[in-house]
């Protein structure tokens, strides 16, 4: 199976040393991603999404686990080998300004990776930049502008153009639309989808917005307190969510009601996500879980298969489908 996958991640873990002890940011994350496919990563703030995304690209070094990308064991590459491989793996962040050089023009920002990787001569590079700008919807007269002179949506287009410059196979998109207005969000989502089709791109698409993730993804992994607690193909996950946390997340997405009777009661979980420095015993979700029993407080649930490619870490999974 795995030879048809672009990316196979197994048991990836990452801890940080922090003043109050050791913080487990990601624990034993495993997933696969095929060519031209999208894996959505959802979860609340601090659940480990960005850390996992960065660790996969080796922008930070994982503590343990394996990452096989395009048949290559990424964690065993030397710095030099990794640099070459990076051409195929790009990242887009929530705040576009943080990843652009404010003192360089739009054109120069997009050209930068071509220069770093020594691709083409000056004329070819300029031509490539024009081509990319046109493709992401930036008008030619913006080439000489500086990033701060553009709107947030335009800045994100620059970031996307730059990420595309080296023809990558994988782009980790970390909340790429969260900072944008809804009308601009949709423009960028639509652009990312078109680019995926045209270039057979694979995405890891990180977002706390479940509706956006559903729209973008072929498969979805739900993270809670540094762990992937449920993972399934997108249709399966939304039709048969098994983990209590997944179900609560789904209920927390507010819909525009059609009548007053359909308005949300705003019912939700009590409490907030606990500190990953001192995570709860047993199932990490037990202090907030309406279904928790004694075993949940003492014993960590194993990951189990509950359907075709559908994995979930919950003692009650499969038993409780109707309760929440």
């Amino acid at each position: 199976m795995s030879h048809s996958e672009l990316l196979v991640v197994e048991n990836l873990s990452k801890t940080f040393k922090v003043p109050g002890g050791t913080l487990k940011a990601v624990q034993n994350a495993s997933f696969t991603l095929g060519p031209a496919k999208t894996l959505g990563l959802v979860g609340e703030s601090g659940s480990g999404k960005s850390t996992l995304g960065r660790a996969v690209l080796r922008l930070i070094e994982a503590d343990s686990g394996s990452i096989v990308f395009d048949g290559v064991d990424i964690r065993s590459l030397s710095t030099k080998e990794l640099r070459l491989k990076r051409k195929d793996m790009q990242m887009i962040f929530q705040n576009p300004l943080s990843s652009l050089n404010p003192r360089m023009t739009v054109e120069r920002n997009i050209k930068d990776p071509l220069i770093i990787h020594n691709i083409g001569d000056a004329k070819e590079r300029s031509h490539r930049v024009r081509e990319l700008m046109e493709r992401v919807g930036l008008s030619e007269n913006m080439a000489r502008a500086y990033p701060t002179e553009l709107s947030g949506g335009q800045q994100q287009r620059v970031v996307i153009a730059r990420a595309l410059a080296l023809n990558p196979k994988l782009i980790v998109c970390d909340e790429p639309v969260s900072a944008l207005d809804v009308s601009i969000q949709l423009q960028i989502i639509s652009l990312l989808q078109d680019l995926q089709r045209e270039h057979n791109l694979s995405y890891i698409f990180i977002s706390h917005n479940l509706a956006v993730v559903e729209y973008m993804s072929d498969a979805v992994a739900v993270m809670y307190l540094s762990e992937i607690v449920e993972r399934a193909p997108v249709d399966e996950l939304f039709a048969h969510p098994q983990h209590p946390y997944t179900r609560v997340l789904m209920q927390s997405v507010l819909k525009v009601p059609e009548s007053l009777a359909q308005r949300s009661t705003f019912s939700t979980l009590p409490g907030e996500i606990p500190s990953p420095i001192n995570p709860p015993s047993g199932c990490p979700f037990h202090p907030r879980c309406p279904l928790a029993t004694d075993i949940c407080r003492t014993t960590k649930p194993e990951e189990k298969m509950v359907g075709d490619q559908h994995q979930v870490s919950c003692h009650q999974a499969g038993v409780t489908a109707q309760v929440i």
């Binding site: 917005n209 729209y215 789904m250 927390s252 507010l254 525009v256 009601p257 019912s267 939700t268 907030e272």
Partner: protein
């Protein structure tokens, strides 16, 4: 006693910037009834915050309210001096902003901060303020309020800090609560908790609320009436049920179809083209004209007036009737 608590008319606010004027709010009018929750929605830069900050006398040095009135129980807030305004702000009108960290004092215990607003307005004795503060923290859903009184803001999570802000805003039993994007920075489950607290407070206290949000889901689930702003102007205002079923402004409709909801997968999306206006020129014509599929020459030359199109439903669009007809078909 008038049913209208706050009556804002033709509010116009400009800012000076090194490179020229910003026409932030251009002739905004709206009313808030007693007991009503009014939602103001719109994309960033549409003038939501500046509208309420103008009313509260909180726009910065470089800003100026150049026209308009804002009558609160018959008194024009825009004519009050600083001293008179301070008697209204925090007492008659409670305020909650998006980022509680910048509005809470980082070096004061949160209990002290809740008590202070009551003591400043001379509502009660210190002892009584303590008891009331504890009750307020409990009302906004803070567990173990006696202990929390002694915490500093940094010891609380973002959701808890926002609850403290709400407690402070409610402390003097205001007639109006203004909340500017109070849940935007919060996780979805915490957002639900805070919305629930706001709804409870609203029901129990029978105050009026202005809820500013860019999230139509929040506005339509919480509010009785919705106002849509764009380019520093009001585009549409309607009771929520009318709004979700019969919105008559092309921008409101575009905004609604821009939201992805669960179940949108596979749906063909049609993003609104273009960008919101930058507002560095005085408004001329409809602010949405550059992005509107129904635009005509008239739209570019003539600012559409806010006019009544159905009961309690006003809209600023030259072609609103056609929009409604088109939808009816």
């Amino acid at each position: 006693m008038s049913d209208i608590l706050l009556d804002v008319r033709d509010l116009t606010t400009h800012f000076r910037r090194p490179d020229g004027l910003v026409y932030a709010v251009n002739g905004v009018s709206f009313q808030v009834r007693r007991g009503e929750t009014l939602g103001i929605v719109g994309e960033s830069g549409s003038g939501k915050s500046v509208s309420v900050l103008s009313i509260l006398g909180l726009i910065g040095e470089n800003g100026k309210v150049v026209a308009g009135t804002a009558e609160f129980e018959g008194v024009d807030l825009l004519k009050l001096n600083r001293h008179e305004m301070r008697a209204v702000r925090g007492r008659e009108i409670g305020i909650v902003f998006q980022d509680p960290m910048t509005s809470l004092n980082p070096i004061k215990r949160v209990g002290q901060q809740v008590m202070e607003v009551m003591l400043v307005h001379r509502l009660c004795s210190k002892q009584e303020a303590w008891d009331r503060a504890v009750a307020l923290l409990e009302e906004v859903g803070i567990a173990d309020p006696h202990r929390r009184m002694k915490n500093y803001p940094f010891e609380l999570s973002g959701g808890m800090r926002q609850r403290v802000m709400i407690a402070i805003a409610l402390a003097c039993q205001p007639k109006l609560l203004i909340a500017d994007e109070p849940t935007t920075a919060l996780d979805v489950t915490v957002q639900m908790q805070v919305l629930s607290v706001l709804r409870e407070a609203q029901v129990n206290r029978q105050m009026s609320t202005i809820m500013i949000t860019h999230d139509l889901g929040v506005a339509t689930n919480l509010c009785d009436r919705v106002i849509v702003m764009y380019g520093g102007q009001v585009m549409e205002s309607a009771p929520v049920e009318e709004f979700v079923r019969h919105s008559a402004h092309p921008y409101s409709r575009a905004l609604k179809s821009s939201i992805l909801e669960i179940g949108s997968r596979g749906r063909k999306i049609a993003p609104i083209p273009g960008n919101p206006p930058v507002m560095i020129e005085p408004p001329r014509g409809c602010p949405f004209a550059d992005r509107c599929l129904l635009v005509t020459d008239r739209c570019r030359d003539e600012i559409p007036d806010l006019r009544i199109i159905a009961q309690e439903h006003v809209v600023a669009c030259h072609r609103a009737e056609e929009v409604l007809e088109h939808v009816a078909q």
